[in-house]
Amino acid sequence: MKKAFYSILYYGVPVVILAVFVAAMNSAPYLKRSFGPHDDVPGLMAAVEAHVAAGRWDQARTDVERLIAAWETVTERIQFSVGRDKLTRISANLARLRGAVMAEDRAGALVELGEAWEQWDSLER
């Protein structure tokens, strides 16, 4: 009985450790999801897109700030499973989006949003 227990422990512990590592390294698709209104990145991107398309610049400015804050929250969660390059690219997109919204540049804002969507969708790849 004792021998069987140690045998399970001998093989089981490494298997469990490796399983935890695999889960942690592939956790991005789950962890990038929204857990509340404060970190709803796709929801806020859609909102900013709608405001920009309709020319509602005041609301766009408010939602861009909320979007950047949401992205920072998500970054904290997914930084262990996503490459730094992807995170940096989305951060740069959002920074440029903020500038475009401030300048009320619809074309520039939509370009940045388009790229941000693409980066967001391929985040875990």
């Binding site: 490796l18 590592f21 942690a24 592939n26 262990f80 499973s81 730094r84």
Partner: protein, 242 residues
């Protein structure tokens, strides 16, 4: 994004994975290191390093790369175990480089070994005179096995028909001041016997002992923490931090 924190987490993943994979690959990696296995070890280590510090890419592809190489190494090990022809092809074979006291120049050329390389390997085996060697075989892992001519082989008790007593592996009974009860039990002895033996040598407690081993002849070897050497021999030959 805290890069240092990410490196720490990825370092733990790489270190632990490598530890588990190395155990799976077995002792062959250290004891029978062929050139291929040497390169394999470096590559796997390099991948673990990239997994830790190359933050540009996600950890997962690095880890999959590591796993792929480990599985490939395991597959090669399995194939060479099951199929001797493949083992010969993959690991190579021992090559006789000195036969009946004569250097096999053609074999050396095939191995891309110079005479100086052979002499160097012989010296590491304690052979400084080529004429002492009857056979020398370069093993697949690059080490040289040497058979000296009979007149140059060390004299053994058997040569003189001297009787010898059995000598096996000694058993540790005290390790760093702690009695190893498991080993005591294994040799059919107990603590009271050990304490009595220690008292014979003027030792009051096992805690005074750094190491104690029982030889197969039944003799107890004891090394105390308090060494009775009056003047230590200094191996250093130059002033500086030691």
């Amino acid at each position: 994004m805290d890069q240092a924190l990410v490196v720490v987490v990825r370092g733990i993943i790489a270190f632990t994975s490598l530890l588990i994979f190395a155990r799976v690959l077995g002792k062959q990696q250290i004891s029978q290191l062929t050139f291929f296995e040497y390169v394999l070890g470096i590559t796997i280590g390099s991948m673990a390093a990239s997994l830790t510090t190359d933050l540009r890419a996600p950890a997962w592809p690095h880890w999959v790369g590591l796993l792929t190489w480990v599985l490939a190494a395991l597959a090669v090990q399995w194939v060479t175990l099951k199929w001797r022809y493949a083992a010969k092809y993959i690991d190579g074979e021992p090559t006789v480089v000195i036969m009946n006291g004569q250097v096999m120049e053609k074999a050396l050329r095939t191995l891309r070994y110079r005479l100086s390389d052979l002499l160097e390997l012989l010296r590491t085996k304690g052979v400084f005179d080529l004429s002492e060697v009857e056979f020398a075989v370069l093993e697949a892992n690059g080490s040289l096995s040497v058979l000296r001519k009979s007149q140059h082989q060390p004299l053994t008790p058997k040569d003189l028909n001297l009787p010898t007593s059995y000598k096996g592996v000694s058993t540790e009974l005290i390790y760093d001041g702690v009695v190893v009860d498991q080993n005591l039990e294994q040799v059919g002895l107990d603590r009271s016997w050990l304490e009595a033996e220690l008292k014979k040598q003027g030792i009051q407690s096992p805690e005074e002992v750094f190491a104690a081993t029982l030889e197969t002849s039944g003799k107890l070897y004891v090394d105390r923490y308090r060494d009775r050497v009056k003047r230590l021999v200094d191996a250093s030959d130059f002033k500086g931090p030691s």
